[in-house]
């Protein structure tokens, strides 16, 4: 009898001395080509945001009369026509009709665009964690009130609200940080809703109950027991919100609400559109900023796929290559039964 008891009590101790599970295993992303491509794109743009303004050959507002082609007036009443220069050795991406260097504008713009996107994403995620976790963990009237607030924000269309806010808040057109905060105010609700749902399901798990019974404070339980389990969902919500913020900032700039002092890709597109660059065939002016935004957005979305596949392993097998499937001994297109979930060995 006593040996059994001893055996029982000694089991956890033996388990505890077993090789420790890597501490941050929860953060390991699946090594799919999507995630790698996404990370490479993001790192590339992060680098661009840091060194872009430094390596830009000219100031984005520097003008030079030799940088435009002036076609003399025809006849008595004609006026001289100004044309931008197409890409050449001196101007790798050509010039604008205002005689600015497009490449310089593109490089300088990277910083503000990235700053607003990621700052707004971070601020909105922080807000959604605070609201979502509080609502989910505390419950009751607090939950009702906070859930109602996030649902109201979710139902009101974001961009029109953003436009109204940006056109009234003073100084919004000269401060990227202020713009980022305004974007965050309109973009936190979705994340709050998903995080609340997850907190709700974590709240009654045994390890949280155990912490509560052992007398830990709510704050400590939230920070040390609940939050670590929310990391993948919070990260996914961060990527999603950053993608939204990027689009919102560019749209505001395109509408002329983000000022003309801070260079960003939306402002470049706005100027190009205002001078009807697309219709005139000056592709080197409007295509590069649009392509940069699309590529950055694509990087964020690819990384988000990786996140989704991580949160829900059942989505993962589709990306399984034929070789991996054969090695794991499964049929790739099962006709009957469950989706195989495969954990690949860590590299």
């Amino acid at each position: 009898m006593s040996t059994t008891v001893q055996g029982l009590t000694s089991a956890p101790i033996a388990g505890g001395s077993a090789p420790a599970v890597p501490r941050f295993r929860a953060l390991r992303l699946p090594h799919s080509p999507k995630v790698i491509a996404g990370l490479v794109i993001l790192l590339l743009f992060a680098l661009l945001a840091v060194i872009g303004p430094v390596i830009a050959p000219y100031s984005p507002t520097h003008t030079d009369l030799r940088w435009v082609q002036i076609v003399p007036a025809h006849g008595l009443f004609g006026s001289p026509q100004i044309l931008p220069l197409s890409p050449s050795r001196g101007h790798l991406l050509g010039t604008t009709i205002y005689a600015n260097d497009v490449l310089s504008q593109l490089l300088v713009s990277a910083r503000a665009t990235m700053l607003v996107g990621f700052l707004a994403g971070a601020a909105a995620t922080l807000l959604s964690i605070v609201v979502g976790v509080t609502a989910g963990y505390i419950g009751g009237f607090t939950d009702d009130g906070l859930s109602l607030a996030s649902n109201v924000f979710l139902a009101i269309p974001g961009l029109p609200l953003l436009i109204v806010l940006a056109s009234y808040v003073p100084g919004a057109d000269s401060s990227p940080v202020l713009i980022a905060l305004i974007v965050a105010v309109t973009g936190w609700a979705y994340g709050a809703r998903t995080l609340r749902a997850q907190t709700l399901s974590l709240r009654n798990r045994e390890f949280v109950e155990a912490a509560r019974v052992s007398g830990e404070s709510s704050f400590r339980i939230i920070v040390y027991e609940v939050l670590p389990n929310l990391v993948p969902i919070a990260a996914s919500s961060f990527l999603f919100t950053t993608l939204y913020a990027l689009g919102a900032y560019v749209a505001l700039a395109y509408l002329g609400l983000a000022g003309s002092n801070i260079w960003n890709w939306g402002l470049m597109l706005m100027q190009a559109q205002a001078e009807s660059a697309p219709a005139s065939g000056w592709w080197w002016w409007w295509a590069p900023p649009g392509f940069c935004i699309a590529l950055l957005g694509c990087g964020l979305a690819l990384l988000n796929f990786g996140m989704d596949e991580f949160i829900n392993p059942r989505l993962r097998d589709a990306g399984l290559s034929r070789k991996d499937a054969r090695r794991a001994g499964i049929r790739r297109r099962p006709k009957l039964g469950f989706t195989p979930v495969i954990r690949k060995p860590a590299p």
Binding site: V152, G158, Y168, L255, P278, A294, L296, C298, R314, R333
Partner: protein
């Protein structure tokens, strides 16, 4: 029925919040930008000046609560003030003229995108081949492109370049091919001709969301016991997919509210690119001219339209899912 009443109550609350923000924002912002803008205007007569000042609470001695009551009185009478940018025409009539264009384009584009995206999503969830799955990142590339940039690219390729479609506006208004609005063949053809490119832009950018959501939900539903039973009974694959798809579509309908607000935002920008005579084009001019009554009126109308669309989606959801009806 009780579920729907509760949802209706929620949307009324959301509308109240939006309208109240609309009222307080110009009054609470430091250094009232509206007052400055009014100073720059040249007025036709003193009556208009008084009306505008009353609308934004500039130089008014009434308490803010009395102003709030007046604001609601104006709203109920459909009075949204006059537009500064359009020779002081009433905002309501300008929006009323633009709204059918926006609603038509939005409706067609959303329905096409939802149906197409859902069907492709079902296919992807069913077949699950790694090759087909690369279709999703491909579609996401379109989703990540700013709406107005994709619009510009399509405009360049198919209108300016290939001359397949017209460059701007909602129907042919000038030249020998101009048509008169009404129920005639030429007008309808012109309408469709002008709508194809803007609608394609919206469909291309919004389809990835439906596709991905449906595909993920299909993958999860295919593992449910009832699908297993359906297969074990030897039902044809077509029927099994139908069982799974019917259940997998629910979250897509439930997420409609999030999607519609993104689509509306995109549509506003697309209209600007194609000079489409809808709300977005109005909004662009209102923002450029600092036409505050117009900006506020448009915000109000778009919010109400989106809330109404959400409510319609809820009706669909409640009629699709009996569990929701049971809860009430």
């Amino acid at each position: 029925m009780r579920v729907l009443l509760r949802r209706l109550g929620f949307y009324l609350l959301a509308a109240w919040v939006a309208l109240t923000v609309n009222f307080f924002l110009p009054r609470l912002v430091p250094g009232n930008p509206v007052a400055t803008a009014i100073g720059h205007l040249t007025f036709v007569n003193a009556q208009v000046v008084d009306a505008i000042k009353a609308q934004f609470g500039v130089g008014i001695n009434d308490s803010i609560w009395i102003q709030y009551v007046h604001y609601w009185g104006d709203l109920i009478h459909g009075n949204l003030g006059v537009s500064w940018g359009n020779s002081f025409e009433p905002v309501t009539s300008l929006i009323g003229a633009a709204l059918p264009w926006t609603l038509g384009l939005l409706g067609v584009a959303t329905v096409v995108s939802f149906l197409l995206g859902t069907f492709i999503g079902i296919g992807l969830g069913w077949m699950r081949s790694p090759w087909l799955d690369w279709l999703i990142p491909g579609a996401t590339f379109f989703q990540a492109i700013p709406y107005f940039f994709l619009g510009t690219v399509l405009l360049m390729a198919f209108a300016t370049g290939l001359h397949w479609f017209p460059i701007s506006q909602g129907y042919q208004t000038t030249g020998v091919e101009s048509v008169t609005p009404g129920l005639n063949w030429a007008y309808l053809v012109s309408l469709i001709d002008h709508g194809v490119l803007p609608a394609s832009t919206i469909v291309l950018t919004s389809i990835a969301g439906w596709m991905l959501g449906m595909r993920n939900m299909m993958v999860i539903t295919m593992d449910e016991d009832f699908v297993l039973v359906a297969r074990a009974k030897g039902l044809p694959a077509r029927k099994v997919v139908w069982y799974a798809a019917r259940n997998a579509i629910l979250p897509s309908v439930a997420n409609f509210s999030l999607a519609i607000s993104l689509v509306v935002a995109g549509q506003l920008l697309v209209e600007i690119v194609f000079s489409y005579p809808g709300i977005g084009y109005l909004l662009f001019h209102a923002v450029t001219n600092q036409d505050y009554p117009m900006v506020q009126g448009i915000f109000l109308v778009i919010t109400l339209v989106v809330l109404l669309a959400n409510f319609l989606a809820d009706i669909v959801y409640v009629s699709l899912d009996p569990r929701v009806r049971q809860e009430a």
